[in-house]
């Protein structure tokens, strides 16, 4: 039995809609997720499926005029949806730390990197300037920056990509947040640096017992670091489970297709298939029926639920729709036969 306090984030029925030409369109549609202490929750999916939308909804950073967020995001029983800004500012940076994709763009070009980390401390602690400086040096050591005293005085453009991302991480963990959200933290980095940064995140989590939401489209990253995985497609979660199940017993066609697209997939013939197509744009998103149906037209409509729901197929393993039961990858021979048949 887990303790109540182990639950850090409890997201229920989250809808985030953006206004496009006067109308609101859901970019995150009925999202249900939990994040526990000591857990790395990975959110995976193609570009445009709504991963960053979830992150910005949690941390409350969106254009309030053109974005509508409904549902509940409970952080220790405090609902973050609709929380007023001054209260939210006490939580952002202190209880929830955020790491973004592009470390150069994420840093203010006119400020010394040390001062940018110290800024977090300024707003959440009562340390004086000296104490803040000392804490920044300590953080720089923790995130593995060489010569931290020297680094403090540097400007972002003077650092390498890997070092910049370490600064961003130092900034996010400065106040020992319980929740860390990392939105594609390694996408902008060299392959060799990526592994180091992921190791660093895991280290931090082991030390601080925080919960990490790791947003990525790289399944390799997921396999290496995640405990729980949520697979997203077109604004919805299509499959959710622990990492072992996702990799060993993926059920939803989209998950299976994603896994097949992994470079060093050594599965047998049938599983090498990858489903073609892309995530529909917000305005063209089908608002009823299975959103993935359009990409697997060889599966008969009767295999899909009319209004697909998420089913718990095994304890802790959730899959949207029932089409996975009859799903098979499109066989080239059979399509040829089909077209030949229709031609006769």
């Amino acid at each position: 039995m887990e303790k109540q306090s182990d639950l850090l984030l409890d997201i229920q029925h989250l809808h985030t809609a953006y206004r496009l030409q006067g109308k609101f369109y859901d970019a995150a549609d009925d999202i249900n997720l939990t994040l526990k202490r000591d857990e790395i929750l990975a959110i995976v999916g193609e570009s445009g499926c709504g991963k960053s939308t979830i992150a910005s909804s949690i941390i409350g950073l969106y254009d309030h005029k053109n974005t509508k967020v409904t549902g509940d995001i409970l952080y220790n029983e405090l609902n973050l949806v609709g929380l007023n800004e001054s209260l939210f500012n006490k939580i952002r940076g202190d209880k929830i730390g955020m790491i973004f994709q592009d470390p150069l763009a994420s840093l203010n070009p006119l400020m010394r990197v040390g001062d940018q980390v110290a800024e977090t401390l300024y707003y959440h602690t009562d340390m004086d300037e000296k104490a803040r400086h000392a804490r920044v040096i300590e953080l720089f050591n923790q995130v593995g920056m060489p010569r931290p005293e020297e680094m403090y005085e540097m400007y972002p453009h003077e650092l390498s990509g890997g070092l910049r991302q370490r600064v961003v991480i130092a900034m996010a963990i400065a106040c020992k947040p319980e929740v860390i959200i990392a939105d594609e933290p390694t996408t902008a980095l060299d392959v060799t640096i990526q592994a180091q940064i992921l190791d660093l995140l895991e280290d931090i989590q082991r030390q601080s017992h925080s919960g990490i939401i790791l947003i990525t489209h790289d399944l390799g990253v997921v396999a290496e670091t995640a405990d729980e995985v949520a697979v997203m497609y077109a604004g919805q979660i299509v499959e959710k489970s622990d990492v072992k199940t996702i990799f060993e017993n993926p059920l939803h066609p989209y998950t299976r297709s994603l896994l097949n697209s992994m470079p060093q997939s050594d599965d047998t013939d049938e599983d090498l298939h990858v489903i073609k197509g892309t995530v529909p744009s917000l305005k063209n998103m089908p608002r009823s029926g299975d959103r993935f149906a359009a990409r697997i037209p060889w599966i008969p409509a009767s295999a899909h639920e009319v209004e697909p729901r998420v089913h718990e197929v095994a304890p802790g393993h959730w899959v949207r729709c029932t089409c996975w039961k009859t799903f098979h990858f499109e066989d080239e021979d059979s399509t040829q036969k089909a077209t030949a048949a229709s031609g006769e």
Partner: protein
Amino acid sequence: MWKTILRRLLIMIPQLIILSLLVFLLAKMMPGDPFSGSINPNTDPKQIEALRRAAGLYDPWYVQYFRWVGNLFHGDLGTSYIQHVPVTSLIADRANNTFWLSLLTTILTYSIAIPLGITAGRHQDQWQDTGVQIFNYITLATPGFVFYILGLWLFGFTLGWFPISGSVSANASGFWGVLGSRLYHMIFPAILYALIATTGTVQYLRTGIVDNKVEDYVRTARSKGVPENVVFHKHILRNSLLPIAAFLGNTITGLLSGSMIIESVFSYPGMGKLFLDSISQRDYTTLTALILIFGILTLIGNLLSDIIMSIIDPRIRIQ
């Protein structure tokens, strides 16, 4: 930073040499010489020839050039053929007048433009922004001289609030009296000029704020829990002011050339008015001297811009 500045100063040397050569050639191409004005029907042309020879007007061009440059270093810009006084003394007083008018105009321009740019950028697409944009279109579309003449007519002639010519009144006495009178003469042209000169700064600042608002580093600052007000002043505004600060040096030289119209409309004895007067009087020596001075000031303005940039933008220092 010092390295950047030193290198930048070194670059200026060839620029100055080229400028001086160009101005020298220009001077040579202009008609007349120091003796053409003093020709008296009774003077023997041979005598004038001898004077010209003695003055070195028949020396090779490079000898003349180096003599001219040498004189420049002694502050000798030649003698006006028309007014028969050294150009240096002709320019000195007016340079002073123009300097103060330009300084006042610069201060006024920024004190109007910066708040307007901030308002527009902060309230993008709201009524405040629309108001500023309308103001900006008007200042952009209004030709300076029409605006100045209208102002002069309305507030100078009709209402009599401001003096309509000169830089100081003849009966002002005492330090404060003279200073007050000078300010009184300058303030109105400076206000009119500043209003017209705000366009670029307002637009740059507005665009800077609008662009920077959505930058990732601003989102980072917010994600640290920095209050919105501080996010704006410490992060967005500072980055948005970069191009304005960089433009400061150039603005000053721009004002100098723009001073021609305002000074002429207000009969304000400055360099701009002197320039236009020299053209209409065909006072070529004064004209070349002024072109040289404007050229040098432009180079200094650019230098100033680069130095300011290297101080405020850490990304510039490295290169």
